[in-house]
Amino acid sequence: MPHAPFIIAAYGVAAVMLTWCAIGPLLAGRKLARQLRSKYQEADHAPNS
């Protein structure tokens, strides 16, 4: 049984999972920054406080 496909599959799965793990909060952070920015700008333009 050739070992190479299994080695490639193993490292490939690991790479995919680590990328997913790393990218998730980065993307969420970017989305949050966008949402907060617009919310703050709204609050600044219509000051009630």
Partner: protein, 249 residues
């Protein structure tokens, strides 16, 4: 000693933590990539194939560090959770809960790579020996902690409940560690111990380098997740406003 205490006190303040971690992050990512590249080169290119197993033993250089991280992170979740529970340190609570998904990812990687290693080497994708089974149980423990955290509305209560669960679960970990000696298993016996190891240096070095590399990945990813959660929880506070507006310009 005073400098050290001052440092830890400052880290407890979210804006300070955010600023400090932001400076630290590029270094952590950089070290991860450099070490991972070096370790992978040594492991996939330079190291010899195993005498008994052949080429498939190269999977060890990702499987074993991932398994080590899966267990280390769980202990850290429990430890940071304990600090949060006993001393009410919010940053500790947040870092504990942010570590849990990272640990779950590493556990999944360990299971998947272990399974792919088993097929060409021992003929089977899965065997219910004590070691693999415990790794699967560890994954369920992680998922339980994450699920419990997500079930509560109030974030601090959620973090404390999840921390308590992690502390209870950490009792399971010694059983994982000693299961290799308790039962005869298909899994390879422990070959790295404090007294020295039975692995040839050309295979030991890539393993250790990858082990250190994964720690830098964990540190970097943890800081990213913690920063995100801090922004989320403190979004009404001025410091978050300052950060967001500054980063936008």
């Amino acid at each position: 000693m005073n400098r050290v205490w001052l440092f830890f006190h400052k880290m407890g303040s979210p804006p300070w933590f955010y600023r400090f971690s932001g400076k630290l992050l590029p270094w952590l990512w950089g070290l991860f990539f450099v070490l991972a590249a070096w370790g992978l080169y040594l492991g996939l290119v330079k190291a010899p194939p195993d005498y008994l197993q052949g080429e498939s033993a190269r999977i060890m250089y990702i499987h074993v560090p991932a398994a080590w991280m899966s267990m280390l992170i769980y202990v850290l979740v429990a430890a940071m959770g304990l600090i949060g529970l006993v001393w009410h340190v919010r940053i500790a609570e947040i870092m504990a809960i942010c570590s849990a998904p990272i640990g779950a990812f590493f556990t999944a990687i360990a299971l998947a790579t272990g399974s792919l290693w088993g097929r060409p080497t021992w003929g089977t994708y899965w065997v219910w020996d004590a070691r693999l089974t415990s790794e699967l149980v560890l994954l369920f423990l992680y998922l339980g902690v994450i699920a419990l955290y997500n079930s509560f509305d109030e974030p601090r209560k959620a973090a404390r409940a999840a921390s308590l669960l992690a502390l209870v679960g950490v009792v399971n970990l010694p059983i994982i560690h000693y299961s290799v000696t308790w039962w005869n298993t298909l899994h390879q016996g422990t070959s790295i111990s404090a007294s020295g190891s039975s692995i040839h240096p050309s295979m030991l070095w890539p393993l250790l380098i990858m082990a250190v590399a994964t720690k830098f990945f964990y540190a970097a990813n943890l800081l990213v997740r913690t920063r995100h959660r801090l922004l989320l929880q403190d979004h009404r506070k001025q410091w978050v406003r300052n950060v967001i507006m500054k980063e936008g310009s």
